[in-house]
């Protein structure tokens, strides 16, 4: 391992050192604000170190990790999302009566795990990253331990995630048995280049089992069953974190897994992905129609959004990965924004999770109501927002590969999607209830974060071109 390799790994090392430092500080002096600030500094440091590590020859660092433009871009995205989640958590946890310092340590570890996933070039490192992420999430989801729902959500996630991890490991073993290598990109390239008869049963079974594990984390149909309960039961900022960082890292992984081949040529695997995408879009949207709980509604809608994303993923080619990445950024911004609004209105004791809690929000708190509306409009894909450009890009990618079925389903289910986003928007703009609730002050960090997210939402929605250029340069 050379010095250049160490430089390349700097973001990961910062992410690994920060939780240790935070732990030591907590051992000396427990303070919520100091912990939060340290965490934020650590994440910001990792973010700043990213451009410093870019040098032309960096790439493979040992067998396990690859720090290329793609990895750096995705790390940046995940760390930024983690940063936002930390800012949102700070206000949320202020009313929490137990210790809240460990929360930040867990969150840092989860970010580290997700960063390892997108950097991995080997099944071993992928699994390592995944477990760091999952184990932190088990604890984070059940962190407040105040309500039965928290515990239920944590347990549910624990059992299902452990089962899916078992599938994943077994799949890896089968792939190793078939190919004799654990290199991440090998299975896809092998199937792509090999004749049909050499696509042996263990290899295909292994890949399918791998997909089960990944599909679970992505929460696509039919591996989505945990999503609504966990989204509802987890504290709002953790939900935001699960919806973005955890899913985003796996999206990065599948793009890397299949990025070098034309997925349409993979035969049955392509069919499997198509079925997953179509059913995610349809079921996600239809089930969301029935929800009264905003967190559950967003859970189902996030299933649908991952389905949309798979359309561009399946399109592949030169445009596919760019579209996937762009949409992922859009999804991050609007999901963090939407859960951010829920977070600033919630506390560990009482969450604002029902649609009725948002009745008249716009008239009570115009900026917050406006922000939530903007986020929902973006999720629905209305212009002036990044969600519109993102969905447009997905459709372009789909049409470019002539995936008509997927594009039509994308369009039709987006139409359904509008309906439930509008239900929330209608509530936001409805006359406020007469009960005079005392006007609480909202956490400043949370509000500033939301303002920033809204600026990004509209900014990229109006001028997506610079970001597109960056994405193209980084992941090409």
């Amino acid at each position: 391992m050379s010095f250049a390799d160490l430089i390349a790994l700097m973001p990961l090392m910062i992410l690994a050192i920060t939780p240790i430092a935070v732990m030591l500080v907590v051992a000396v002096h427990r303070s919520h604000s100091i912990t939060a600030v340290l965490t934020a500094i650590g994440l910001a440091g990792a973010l700043i170190s990213l451009p410093l590590t870019s040098s032309p020859e960096t790439g493979q660092v040992t067998m396990l990790l690859i720090v290329d433009g793609f990895a750096r871009f995705y790390i940046g995205l995940l760390v930024a999302a983690g940063f936002v989640a930390v800012l949102l958590s700070y206000g949320y946890l202020q009313t929490y009566e137990g210790h809240c310092e460990e929360y930040y340590i867990l969150m840092l570890l989860a970010v580290l795990g997700s960063a390892v996933i997108v950097t991995s070039s080997h099944f071993a490192s992928f699994f390592l990253g995944l477990e760091i992420l999952s184990i932190s999430l088990y604890a984070l989801i059940a962190y407040p331990r105040l309500k039965a729902k928290d515990i239920e959500a944590g347990l549910k996630y624990l059992i299902l995630a452990a089962t899916s991890a078992a599938f994943l490991v077994f799949g890896m073993a089968l792939i190793y048995a078939a190919l004799g290598t654990m290199e991440l990109t090998r299975p896809a390239t092998f199937i792509y280049s090999a004749a049909a008869e050499r696509r042996s049963l263990p290899l295909m079974t292994g890949l399918i089992m791998l997909l089960v594990g990944i599909g679970f984390k992505l929460a696509v149909v039919p591996f989505h069953l945990w999503t609504p309960d966990v989204y509802q039961g987890a504290p709002a900022p953790v939900t935001a974190f699960v919806a973005t960082v955890s899913k985003g890292s796996l999206v990065g992984l599948i793009v890397r897994l299949f990025g070098q081949v034309d997925i349409a040529a993979l035969g049955s695997l392509f069919t499997v992905f198509t079925v997953i995408a179509v059913s995610s879009m349809i079921f996600g949207n239809i089930l969301a129609l029935l929800q009264k709980n905003v967190k559950r509604l967003l859970a189902y809608s996030s299933i649908a959004h991952l389905g949309y994303l798979l359309v561009a993923f399946l399109a592949g080619g030169s445009i596919g990965p760019t579209a996937v990445t762009f949409y992922l950024i859009a999804y991050f911004v609007m999901t963090l924004g939407a859960f951010g609004v829920i977070t600033v209105l919630s506390g560990p004791q009482k969450e604002a999770e029902y649609i009725d809690d948002y009745r008249g929000l716009f008239w009570r708190r115009p900026w917050l109501g406006g922000t939530f509306t903007a986020m929902l409009m973006s999720l629905a894909g209305i212009p002036l927002t990044v969600g519109f450009i993102g969905k447009f890009y997905l459709a372009v990618a789909g049409v470019s590969a002539s995936l008509w079925l997927l594009v039509i389903v994308l369009v039709m289910t987006s139409g359904i999607g509008l309906f439930y986003y509008l239900r929330v928007v209608v509530a936001i703009f409805a006359p406020p209830p007469q009960t005079n609730t005392p006007k609480e002050t909202l956490p400043l960090a949370g509000e500033l974060t939301l303002a920033g997210l809204t600026v990004v939402l509209v900014g990229i929605g109006l001028l997506p071109s610079p970001l597109l250029e960056i994405i193209r340069n980084m992941i090409a």
Partner: protein, 526 residues
């Protein structure tokens, strides 16, 4: 640059109105009014300054153009341009926008700032739709006008507003998404055949593609536009939306939003897919005639005054669909004039209905009657616009509908005959409305204030406009003729290229027109 200002001014005014409206509601009214006046003046300068420069350039008779890079990676540019057709529609937007502000003046009492924000953004979106020459940008504006309109209906509407707003939004949004897919499809068809991936309308014109592809893509565009127009059988959102919207919302909906559908048909559907549109024309013409008659029938059977006016829109927009798919210069002129006249006359009727509702707090015609005695001026004005609606000579609607019928007659005599029945049925419902609402004894003993000064001024302006369009529409024709002529030629040329010269007669007839068109390049004759 003027074109950019046309969009920036209302957008900025909307934001300003919102921010200041919380403290001083009247400020937001004045800001909106002034912004629209600026827009009106800006577009008038376009009219006067360039009137003598109306020459046909390779791209068409454009008066002004701006083309900036926006998302070059996907071949998207911020491309706005205005020709005579767009210009009259932009003028209409500013004019009706001002009347909408006028009608909102006293009706909108709550959340004033936010209302004017939405109003101005709808108008900015509509203006953008009329100006955009990049299909992505067009779609962008097309969607941008939806959300504020949704809020206008959902927040300030009448009893059943949420239902109406959601219905309106879903209809237009889903049909819009189909158009988006068609736009992207066209983008790739063009890109694959020419190697240039672009959303530029001027470059996409004349894209060659197999007939089935053209038909599918054409339908994608068509559905979005006929839903907006609206045409039978996708008109069902309109009565709800129009009825439940507050008066200014109805004015914008009927006067402008519907017109974006008509404009889209003329600017995009037919020119981009001339052959497919030609093949589809018989169906569209039949739908147009059904719309004319069915709309009239439904209008006649309403008891809610506002709903009735809404259904007359369905009938009048049937003429537009008919005229567009007959596609000859005469009919197209009629269509543009119909757009203007219907915008003004129906806008005025909605304002009057709003004024009545403000006074007697009902829209039920059965509870009216004898209003002429107590509010003679309002009733008289309503009479004028009802007459306009039924197509009385001397008022604009007569000219436009006659032109469409003449144009149709050339193409198909039965269609023209059937459509003429629409004029008769319009007479019935319009006069019936006047009869029921205003005449008869004043049984209820209504004692109401007549038109206020503000309302009288508003109505005065609209009466002048409709009279002008009826008596001396020549300036409008002078502005739109080059644009329509160019559109017609583009389409005809492509159709001729595609098949035997079936439309040769039309071309030779248009050649007889006044000298303004003699600059037409000679090579176009088949």
């Amino acid at each position: 640059m003027i074109l950019v200002w046309l969009i920036i001014v209302p957008t900025a005014a909307g934001l300003l109105a919102w921010l200041l409206g919380n403290r001083h509601p009247s400020w937001s009214r004045w800001i909106s009014l002034i912004a629209l006046a600026i827009n009106l003046i800006l577009s008038l300068t376009l009219l006067t300054r360039d009137a003598h420069l109306l020459t046909i350039t390779p791209g068409g008779p454009w008066l002004a153009e701006i083309d900036l890079n926006w998302i070059p990676q996907l071949g998207i540019s911020f491309h706005l341009a205005v020709d005579g057709l767009s210009l009259v529609l932009v003028l209409l937007t500013a004019f009706l926008g001002m009347t909408a502000v006028g009608s909102a003046w006293t009706e909108i009492k709550e959340r004033v700032g936010f209302f004017y924000f939405n109003l101005m953004w709808v108008l900015a979106g509509i203006t953008g739709v009329f100006l955009a020459l990049d299909l992505f940008l067009f779609y962008f504006f097309w969607e941008m006008m939806l959300v504020p309109m949704y809020f206008i209906i959902a927040v300030w509407g009448h009893e059943n507003r949420i239902y109406a707003a959601i219905k309106f939004f879903l209809f237009t949004q889903i049909s819009g998404l189909l158009m988006l897919v068609a736009i992207i499809g066209l983008y790739f068809v063009h890109g694959r055949s020419s190697g240039v991936y672009t959303f530029n309308y001027l470059q996409l014109l004349g894209t060659e593609m197999p007939a089935p592809t053209a038909m599918v893509l054409m339908l994608g565009f068509l559905i979005a536009f006929v839903v907006k127009l609206p045409a039978f059988p996708v008109h069902t959102w309109l009565p709800d939306a129009h009825t439940e919207a507050p008066t200014p919302g109805s004015v914008i909906l009927a006067g402008l939003l519907l017109k974006t559908g008509a404009y889209g048909l003329m600017r995009f559907t037919v020119p981009l897919f001339p052959q497919a549109a030609f093949d589809f024309a018989p169906i569209a013409i039949i739908l147009g005639i059904i719309g004319i008659l069915y709309g009239a029938l439904l209008a006649f059977s309403q008891t809610d005054l506002k709903r009735m006016v809404a259904y007359t829109s369905v009938s009048h927009m049937g003429f537009v669909l008919l005229g567009v798919f007959v596609w000859n210069e005469l009919a197209l002129k009629g269509v543009v004039l119909q757009i203007l006249c219907h915008g003004i006359s129906t806008g005025a009727l909605f304002i009057l209905v709003g004024a009545i509702q403000e006074r007697i707090e009902t829209r039920d015609m059965r509870r009216m009657g004898g209003l002429w005695d107590t509010i003679p001026r309002l009733a008289g004005v309503a009479m004028i616009f009802a007459l306009a609606s039924l197509g009385l000579p001397g008022l604009g609607n007569f000219v436009s509908e006659i032109l469409i019928l003449f144009g149709t007659y050339r193409d198909s005599v039965p269609a023209a005959v059937l459509a003429t029945l629409g004029l008769i049925s319009a007479t019935i419902y319009a006069l019936w409305m006047i009869q029921v609402a205003f005449h008869g004894p004043n049984k209820k003993g209504w004692k109401l204030p007549d038109l206020s000064g503000r309302e009288a001024a508003l109505m005065g302006a609209m009466i002048v406009a409709i009279l002008w369009l009826g008596l001396y529409p020549q300036p409008v024709f002078k502005t739109i003729t080059p644009a329509l002529h160019h559109l017609d030629q583009t389409v005809t040329r492509m159709q001729i290229a595609a098949r035997a010269p079936a439309k040769a007669i039309v071309l030779s007839e248009t050649a007889k027109r006044p000298p303004a068109q003699s600059v037409r390049p000679k090579g176009d004759n088949p």
